[in-house]
């Protein structure tokens, strides 16, 4: 299905990048996260264009359904919603920007340089069935490990975020106001 750069691809990638840029530039954290979710949706669409249905849906389910919500909750819990009272970009942001740009340049340059024109082969038969059998046969060990990892992460996150009994933390230095 993919020969040349399709119009659909251009639109989706534009949406994706735009969302990412917005997430980078907006002041309001919640807006940032919403834009981020736009980006994530765009990425999911890109996956679909790459015939990776399962990955795409997984992307939507995990990122938009869970991670975005999680981030939003975190923002609300840390009272980060609304315009922050302090400058929202760190000092010496210029340097960072330069670094990011440099890395982008490097990558693009490498990409453009290193690929001879290759058209895509036939759409790979990535049916859910094949993925499932692969998960259960070839990738069973990684699967188990990921399962354990997720469990541990879940418990760990709960324990970390659990308010420790008694003194609810000494407030050291108030955020920002320096």
């Amino acid at each position: 299905m993919i020969h040349g750069i399709g119009i659909v691809f251009l639109i989706t990638s534009a949406i994706t990048v735009a969302g990412a840029l917005a997430a980078a530039l907006l002041k309001n954290l919640i807006h940032c996260v919403l834009c981020l979710s736009i980006t994530l949706a765009g990425l999911a669409l890109l996956y679909l264009q790459l015939d990776a249905q399962f990955a795409g849906f997984a992307q939507i389910l995990v990122y938009i359904g869970a991670v975005a919500i999680l981030v939003v909750f975190a923002i609300l819990l840390t009272r980060g919603a609304g315009i922050p009272e302090y400058r929202n970009v760190s000092s010496s942001w210029l340097v960072s920007l330069v670094i990011a740009a440099a890395i982008f340049a490097l990558l693009t340059w490498a990409v453009i340089r290193s690929f001879p024109a290759t058209a895509a082969g036939a759409a790979p038969g990535a049916t859910v069935q094949s993925i499932g059998s692969a998960l259960m046969s070839t990738y069973v060990l990684p699967l188990e490990i990921v399962a354990v990892l997720l469990t541990v992460a879940l418990i760990g996150a709960v324990i970390v975020a659990m308010p420790e009994s008694g003194a609810a933390g000494k407030s050291i230095e108030k955020g920002g106001a320096q």
Partner: protein, 393 residues
Amino acid sequence: MSFIQSMDQIFITLQHWIAGLFPLWLQPAVMAILAVVAILGAFPAIFAVTTVLERKGLGRMQNRLGPNRVGPLGILQPVADGIKSLTKEDIVPFTADGLVHFLAPLVLVTAVFLGFAVLPIGRNMVLVNMDAGLFFFFAIGASVELSIFMAGWSSRNKYSLLGAMRAIAQMISYEVPLLLSSVVAVMITGSLSTTKIVEAQSGFTGIFPHWYVFTPWGFAGFILFVIAALAETNRSPFDLPEGESELVAGYFTEYSGFKFALFFLGEYLGMLSIAGFGITLFLGGWGAPFSFLGFIPSWLWFFLKLFAAISFFIWLRGTLPRLRQDQLMNFAWKFMLPMALLNLVVAGAWRFLGEGWQRWIICSVVLLAAYFLLGRTLMRHQKLGPRSYRYAE
């Protein structure tokens, strides 16, 4: 082609006929558009019918006539409502975050409509016969939460925000049992495609169909699915997010006019789609309940079942009191989740115990035992005394 089959496939033939009027290169697009339009038309209509059904049904349950002014027996009530909500002024709070406030209902409705794309309404009647259809549905359903959050947060109102938070917490908690309980059907069918799942249930022994609900794991899964679905769609007894007594109307308190209507639509469509999937997964989709009733068109069966499910929901709403937040969460994590997980295991056992009556005994016994034990442990810490009316008399 016999009359029965033609009746069964009437919409398909219609679609093909209309598409035939167009030039060849347009036909795929036209067919898709037709299907979409059909869905966009059919389900809102059902939504309208549902509203009036619900209001009248609830009225009857509460010893009052429901709406009975507009049209004969108030049949035209939804039309009136629609006109009213369209003509009302659209109020946006001053401090509200305008863009998000505007986008929220759209996102909701879009997401919900997307859900119907993989719902098999009848034989060969599914918009996209996707290989990972069920997965798609759940992914879309997950993104509904984001829209709810947008609605609650953007309207700068503590009731809205609280409602949104409650709704999201509840939906996330119940998404897990919902998924797990539907996975059993997938396990047994061996496919995530909704059409395949329905076809797997289309057989008959004697006059009785091979619906999954008629197996131990299927029954347990169905019950869990129904409960989780109630919670997912914020229907009572899980309608805390819009508990009128506590938070005015939950996350769409600050919505009015057409946006409010959209939310309303979204909610009911969500209910319809999830009910449809419940039917697809456990009640044999568009299959006939008895072999000798096969002459009735499949789509008709589907919609009959859908209405039955809806009336069940309405009945529950008229019957059950609202839960408390902690009860809700406890129930989700301490009962639903373990039961669903156990149900997975049981389904696997069913698959590997082979044919024969033993597997019926074993699976049922295991599930019943788990049900009783879990119920015991869950109920132990709640002192359920006789209800006390402190301010009565």
